[in-house]
């Protein structure tokens, strides 16, 4: 028994079991190699403990902030909250039955077929280098798009027009299985018209992959980052945007997806029409999400849960016109957007400042320094320029 205790009282071991990270995986794999005599103990214990990882229930973001608001209200009036007698006890007796049903339900849980794989994304090009927006053709040709707000479109004959230059592509590359990649580094954005007439606005720090032409009743593209889509109507062939964890399926509509790999969640905002959101590793009980205009679905990458709420669409799509509008947003989130937009770093003198909630609008078409100054003024603090790339909010 002693050998089990050694690990049970080791927080590094418990963390590995209940909230594993890549580092912990590596640490313990190395540890097992060094202590082969403990291998069986460690594996057995991990399996057994993992069996007891329970299902945890959390409040969603808006429930949390409502509760906090209520608490702060009663603090300010300094009165104990009026105690409302509710019918909790009615629900109590059903709780046990519900738990039973839950257990039965999940035991028959089976996995649906996975979405078929796409060729892996090429991550070789750095997003934060000061390079230009790049268009990579099926034959590997890289075309530099020098403007910070570039435009790519197609002619009826299939030639690509980049800004004002026409690029003639060979007919053999105009095949659905020939993929084109558009890489928009930090500090740039791009507007792309696809061969089907759909328009995609790509935000800073995004990768977008699409086929040279759409065929076979399907229009599939792949996105890493943020984009606003204005999809041309074609009831015969659905338009599917794949991100790392979610896929969004539409027929003809306007919507925004923000799926940056480093963000905590994937956000889909619908402006017009309707969309269907599908988890890539769908389980039997995962329902697809349907949005109506004005709604936003946030998918939490960690918990795998969706929250759907009504939002002000402008807050999420005005970036394509160079305007950043936000409502009750943490300064941290705004700063992150600005960092991507301008390809700079913004630090905080006091980390607490980052948690301040603000509402407002920034016109990013004016020069960067005055945008940052505007933001600092709103915060009634100062922003200090350390060097070309680094700023600090005091």
């Amino acid at each position: 028994m002693e050998e089990y205790y050694r690990y049970i009282d080791d927080t590094k071991f418990m963390d590995w079991v209940f909230s594993p990270t890549v580092e912990l995986d590596q640490y313990w794999e190395a540890y097992i190699k060094e202590h082969p005599e403990d291998r069986a103990t460690i594996i057995k214990l991990k399996v057994a403990l993992f069996t007891f990882k329970s299902k945890q229930q959390f409040l969603n973001t808006s429930q949390k902030s409502n509760l906090l608001d209520n608490i702060q209200k009663s603090i300010s009036t300094n009165l104990k909250k009026r105690k409302v007698r509710r019918l909790y006890l009615q629900t109590f007796k059903y709780a046990a039955a519900a738990l039973l049903l839950f257990l039965v339900g999940t035991l028959i849980n089976i996995q649906n077929k996975k979405v078929e794989d796409w060729p892996p994304m090429d991550y070789s090009t750095e997003l934060n280098s000061s390079s230009n927006t790049q268009l990579i053709l099926p034959d590997g040709t890289q075309i530099n798009l020098e403007d910070s707000d570039s435009k790519v479109r197609y002619t009826k004959t299939g030639s690509i027009i980049v800004n004002k230059d026409t690029i003639n592509t060979l007919a053999e590359y105009r095949q659905p299985n020939k993929l084109i990649q558009l890489i928009v580094p930090y500090g740039k954005k791009s507007r792309l018209s696809l061969p089907d007439g759909s328009i995609v606005y790509l935000n800073a720090g995004s990768r977008f992959i699409y086929p040279s032409c759409f065929e076979g009743g399907k229009r599939e593209v792949r996105l890493l980052g943020e984009a606003f889509f204005d999809v041309a109507k074609d009831k015969q062939s659905p338009f599917i945007v794949r991100t790392q964890r979610l896929s969004v399926k539409v027929l003809g509509t306007q919507f925004n997806i923000s799926a940056y790999p480093l963000d905590k969640s994937v956000e889909t905002v619908l402006a017009e029409g309707s969309v269907k959101i599908i988890q890539n590793n769908k389980k039997f009980f995962n329902k697809d999400i349907f949005l109506t205009p004005g709604q936003m679905a946030s998918y939490d990458n960690e918990t795998g849960k969706f929250t759907v709420e009504m939002v002000d669409i402008e807050n999420h799509i005005l970036w394509k016109d160079g305007i950043l509008k936000f409502e009750n947003l943490e300064l941290n989130r705004i700063v992150k957007k600005l960092e991507r937009y301008y390809n700079i770093n913004i630090g905080f003198n006091d980390p607490l400042t980052g948690m301040v909630i603000i509402t407002g609008k920034l016109d990013l078409n004016t020069d960067m320094d005055s945008v940052l100054e505007n933001l600092a003024t709103t915060m009634s603090s100062e922003i200090k320029k350390l060097n070309d790339k680094n700023y600090k909010i005091m």
Binding site: F50, L68, F284
Partner: protein
């Protein structure tokens, strides 16, 4: 481009909190709310009641902030406060409805192992193991499992939250481990199989030989 995670100075933070900073209060709330709510739901599975009780706990925390030390005891203080608030509330409400007299707090652990074994169909044996383990634990043991294994409390803190002494907690953990070991000895092959499913990518089943390979060791199955 990711914001560097900044380390907050605990003492400075606590000072700001005791001086009544709203920002510090918000941070503290955000830091603990998920774990508190998850714990509360396990004590008594009613969202509204748990939310109400959390409300009361934070209000009390604000009112008594000057007498609480930070940071060592804060988390267990909050857990304990939530538990006693829920308990008090239920006791009072019991006057108005029929409830089983003992065990007001049931401590439900909804196990998520079923969710994890989605890669393959759940076999009869695996189902049995989970049920066996569930049956063999009592309410206190379930709570100790949650507090010790999942919430990272030490023996002293658990003793305080549950209201028994440290030695009893230690003995209970010993008993839980013993039960686990018994199951492990008997069913280890099947458990290894579960483990391999949990680890998805590491699993390699050679069809002709029927073995599972885990961390370089092969175990026969079937």
């Amino acid at each position: 481009m990711e914001l560097q995670s900044e380390i907050i100075d605990h003492e400075k933070f606590w000072k700001e909190f005791t001086e009544g900073s709203q920002l510090a209060f918000t941070i503290l709330y955000n830091h603990h709310i998920d774990q508190l709510f998850a714990y509360g739901i396990k004590l008594f599975g009613n969202d509204e009641l748990v939310k109400d009780c959390i409300h009361e706990v934070f209000l009390d925390l604000h009112l008594h902030r000057e007498t609480i030390s930070y940071p060592r005891n804060l988390k267990s203080y909050l857990f304990k406060a939530l538990k006693s608030t829920i308990f008090r509330r239920l006791k009072r409400e019991r006057k108005y409805a029929t409830l089983p007299n003992d065990d007001i707090l049931i401590f439900d652990l909804e196990y998520s192992i079923e969710d994890k074994i989605i890669a393959e169909e759940v076999t009869k044996e695996q189902k049995q193991i989970v049920e066996t383990i569930l049956r063999k634990l009592n309410k206190d043991q379930r709570e100790i499992i949650f507090l010790k294994f999942e919430s990272g409390f030490d023996y002293d803190e658990i003793a305080e939250i549950i209201g028994i002494n440290r030695d009893s907690v230690y003995k209970q953990v010993y008993r839980i481990l013993k039960k686990l070991r018994d199951i492990l000895e008997k069913e280890s092959m099947v458990l290894f199989f579960i483990y391999s499913l949990l680890n998805g990518a590491k699993k390699k089943i050679k069809k002709d030989k029927k073995v599972v390979q885990i961390l370089g060791v092969e175990f026969p199955i079937g």
